[in-house]
Symmetry: C2
Subunit: 243 residues, 2 copies
DNA sequence: CGCTCGTTTGAAGCTTATCAAAGTCAGTGG
DNA sequence: CCACTGACTTTGATAAGCTTCAAACGAGCG
């Protein structure tokens, strides 16, 4: 079992295209520094200009959009293996924050090293570009959920998405994955009030669509949940193809 | 006045970083084929595997997510100069459709030519990557609007975003731009019912935040509208920086 | 044991959806 | 030139989904 901070990133890449041993070695050779965060700690601040991109090694993080009335919206969720702030070296200034939703471990890679990597290995460059494109595709699926689906279907969709992503990096199996975030955090992902989120969740538990007790989410019948949430796995691009 | 289909794309790029004459020439030299579409015509179908990426030359297009109940959600709006389906050569299969919201002209560029371009000109490659990253950033802003803002603020935000983007490519000036889409289309962008969209629009007209009659949107006081919609121009990355 | 954080419950109110129909306007054919 | 057509906007009435406020409950922890 590899303990490299890049192990899960490589799994994420390999789920979309073959990665040669040389390419994998190039990734593994990236210099990095590790850092840990407590739950609810800010990892990258809105308005900052990062000089490193952060790769999530352990834990769950969210992209946080803060509003003037004090409320907030999570605009993306990231899991281990996600290059959370990969595009930071293109976008320069953060228009949102990155927060630890659970205790986290993060590997920082300086932008110049990323730049060198994509220059030296064009295929890896395209694969990293692909990762940002997939993030965007997931975002569009979220928009469809927020605009046109009921709260329950939206939640179902989110759980299906997370399950498949977790499975790719070895963090989900047999319909079960750890997702130790509070219902308040969920409500900020769905754009709902905590009270309504709680009620929707109870209803889905009653209907047997999910069992969610404490840290663990259990999906008894993935197909049923996907059907209910109209989840289309296409947006995750989980097919090995030459890219 | 250039009539090249790439003229507005170059403006879009130059708003974010300096583009050398050589780079511009490389873009202008891309082989393409032009095609026109009528309003509401489908440009790229959900589930298809495009072998070309489409650059919007004229008109307005939307990314369409269709739901099982027959409703639909627009997950992104594109204006002339946008490389609508740039990431198509990475994502392979469309998980959503692209529709003409007004009569359109589109330039198709075959993926191999794009591939050659980004291989030969790494800086241009990064700039195209940047464009897809900006699309994603705009998508995240939409998510924040849908989740946590009122319908009126959401609409204000959308109009501010469109105004600035149009301005960059020379299609907006003095607070005015053409946006000849129906209120039904707007409601599919905002995730609202047409009836509610109409009422919100009337209210905003009454308050003097926008004058929208027929094809033309007029923003009398951009700062006031941006303040009301909590619009943060940061997500558009409209700053020339080395990328 | 009491404290703190998170979940759950209840009740009232507001935003937005839905259904149905009328009004408006540009374009078309008689 | 006028009536007709079809697409879009506007209005009204009612209902549903979700929010808000407030408080109780429960589990883990010092």
């Amino acid at each position: 079992m590899s303990t490299s901070p890049f192990a899960r990133l490589l799994k994420t890449l390999e789920a979309r295209d073959h990665i040669s041993p040389l390419e994998a070695a190039r990734v593994e050779a990236l210099p990095f520094r590790l850092k840990s965060y407590k739950r609810n700690e800010e990892i990258i601040a809105e308005g900052s200009r990062p000089t490193e991109s952060c790769l999530l090694v352990e834990g769950i993080v969210g992209r946080m959009n803060y509003l003037q009335d004090g409320s907030r919206q999570v605009s993306a969720v990231h899991i281990p293996g996600d290059f959370v702030d990969l595009h930071g070296f293109l976008l320069k200034v953060m228009d949102h924050g990155i927060n630890a939703l659970t205790p986290c471990r993060v590997a920082y890679v300086a932008h110049p090293h990323l730049r060198d990597l994509v220059d030296a290995e064009p295929h890896l460059g395209r694969m990293l570009w692909l990762l940002t494109a997939i993030d965007a595709a997931v975002g569009r699926a979220w928009i469809a959920c927020m605009g046109r689906r009921s709260a329950a279907r939206h939640l179902a969709h989110l759980l299906c998405e997370l399950y498949l992503r977790m499975e790719v990096v070895g963090l989900a199996k047999d319909g079960i994955f750890e997702f130790p975030v509070s219902q308040v955090d969920i409500s900020d992902m769905l754009g709902l009030s905590p009270v309504h989120t709680n009620r929707v969740l109870q209803e889905m538990r009653q209907q047997g669509l999910v069992a969610w007790k404490g840290r663990k989410v259990e999906i008894k019948d993935f197909d049923a949940l996907a059907e209910f949430g109209e989840f289309n796995p296409l947006c995750l691009n989980l097919v090995q193809e030459p890219r």
